[in-house]
């Protein structure tokens, strides 16, 4: 698998937070979701990738290029939507489009105008009068109008109403369909990631806690409900988020495909039931594990 982004031993220290020795690859042509609780280091990682802040160590290669030495080329090939959207506040979306068009080598003004229309962004209204949702959409329109190979979005759906949120996610899925483009999307809204991501990375307390393909993740992580005495003690010991009930209990396994055979008898008698878990259940498990 080709990697569009390669991070090795990336480190950033703040007074109360350390991004600790991150090593991570992002495959080309896929949507990668970055999930983590607030303050986990998602935004810091993305800012480091975009060379918006200085790292305290490690390497970041985007398209096989060092992210500091090739800052301009990388920004030309990456569409970025930050956690906060910065614009010249007293200017309009039209003006902003013209302004940024001078810096991107592959700017498509026609596409930008089309996106403004599609996202219903007022063209002549001052940006300072925009709602949070409008700002995100404008940022997205800029990020998508210079034919980027990689799109990096930091909490893009926060502040968007459900209809626009759905549109944005569908749009991201559409533009990655031919495999030329890759998307890195960070969010603490796990539903968004579950909807579109192909691979998922969990970040907790400044560390990568888990990276896996979404389908593998959801196939392996299951909640098991069991009657008293129905579960093999060895399996019982591996369960997380254990809950006791009057007639048994439940817990989450991260190796369902491995233990499936051992559960077959209980599954047949109805003493064991298996339930799918959501990405947020996995996040909670990982947080508790840490």
């Amino acid at each position: 698998m080709n990697n569009i982004l390669k991070i090795r031993n990336l480190r950033k220290e703040y007074e109360e937070f350390i991004l600790d020795d991150i090593s991570w690859d992002i495959p080309k042509g896929y949507i990668t979701g970055l999930i983590g609780p607030n303050g986990a280091g998602k935004t810091t990682t993305i800012k480091l990738i975009m060379n918006l802040i200085k790292s305290d160590g490690g390497e970041v290669d985007v398209f096989g290029l060092d992210h500091v030495a090739n800052d301009i080329e990388i920004k030309n090939r990456v569409g970025y939507v930050g956690e906060e959207q910065f614009f010249y506040e007293h200017r309009s979306a039209n003006w902003t489009g013209k302004f940024v068009s001078h810096f991107f080598t592959d700017w498509d003004m026609e596409h930008y105008q089309k996106l403004l229309e599609e996202f219903e962004i007022p063209r002549k209204k001052m940006i300072r009068k925009f709602s949070k949702g409008m700002r995100v959409k404008l940022s997205l329109a800029i990020a998508l109008s210079h034919n980027p190979e990689l799109i990096i979005l930091d909490e893009p759906t926060a502040g968007l109403d459900p209809i626009i949120r759905r549109d944005v996610l569908d749009f991201l899925q559409t533009i990655t369909q031919n495999g030329d483009r890759s998307v890195l999307i960070s969010s603490h809204i796990t539903d968004d990631i579950a909807r579109i991501a192909d691979t998922i990375t969990y970040m907790i307390n400044g560390r990568i806690a888990l990276t896996a393909a979404k389908d593998d993740l959801l196939a392996n992580w299951k909640r098991i409900h069991f009657s008293k005495g129905a579960l093999d003690p060895k399996i019982f010991e591996t369960l997380e988020q254990l809950e006791d009930h009057a007639f048994g209990g439940s817990g989450i396994t991260k190796d369902y495909l491995q233990i499936k055979e051992s559960l077959s008898q209980g599954l047949a008698t109805g003493d064991i039931k298996v339930e799918n878990v959501g990405l947020d259940d996995i996040l909670i498990s990982l947080v508790k594990e840490q």
Partner: protein, 219 residues
């Protein structure tokens, strides 16, 4: 870079228009028609007015950049820090040149005696050089310590420059018995060509420092 200059130029044009194009020539026209412009307030006050125009424009421009997070926006775009800094430094240089050029032409047009207007021009050029260095230092300060910290210092400096003719008038001219002509003559006695060469070289050096400072000004 030209496009960045165009974007940044609004405040500079406004200040130049206010100071050079419209208000000041009309306001001071009668003073130029005196017997010896060199001794008049006009030439003497043009220097602080130059600082008012350039430092004022930089101050307001940076305040607007700060308010709208201009640098944060530019950082997300494929723009080199050097392009941003060079655009700003060229605008300052251009503003100073326009200001000096305008008044030097005005001196030559209004005063028929070259011994009046030539030293006046030299005085203005030397002050323009000082203004360039101060502005370059100001930019380095803003990129290093941020607008909020340096902005207050600029206001104090600007007030000092604008109000400096008053203490100069009281202490130098009245108490020490030094005339305006003597002050101007002392400044003019410096070779303006050498002063300009040295100051422009220093200005370019400070521009390089400013580029490096902005490149490294990341959290």
């Amino acid at each position: 870079m030209i496009y960045l200059m165009k974007k940044f130029s609004f405040i500079f044009i406004l200040y130049l228009l206010l100071a050079v194009g419209l208000v000041f020539p009309l306001f001071n026209y009668d003073r130029l028609t005196g017997p010896d412009p060199l001794t008049l307030n006009f030439v003497f006050t043009l220097a602080p007015y130059l600082f008012f125009v350039v430092l004022g424009a930089v101050y307001i421009h940076e305040q607007l950049e700060q308010k709208s997070n201009g640098y944060a926006f530019l950082r997300t775009l494929p723009v080199k820090a050097s392009d941003i800094v060079v655009a700003k430094f060229l605008l300052v240089l251009l503003s100073v040149l326009i200001y000096i050029g305008f008044y030097c032409v005005a001196f030559a047009k209004i005063s028929t005696n070259p011994s009046y207007w030539k030293p006046s021009c030299s005085f203005l050029i030397i002050n323009g050089n000082i203004c360039l260095i101060l502005t370059a230092l100001l930019y380095v300060g803003i990129f290093r310590y941020g607008y909020n910290k340096v902005g207050k210092f600029v206001v104090l400096l600007w007030l000092f420059i604008v109000l400096s003719p008053i203490p100069i008038n009281i202490f130098l001219l009245k108490r020490l018995g030094i005339s305006r002509r003597e002050i101007i003559e002392r400044v003019v006695s410096l070779n303006w060509v050498i002063v300009t060469l040295v100051c422009v070289a220093l200005y370019l050096l400070l521009m390089r420092v400013a580029i490096k400072t902005l490149e490294e000004a990341k959290a």
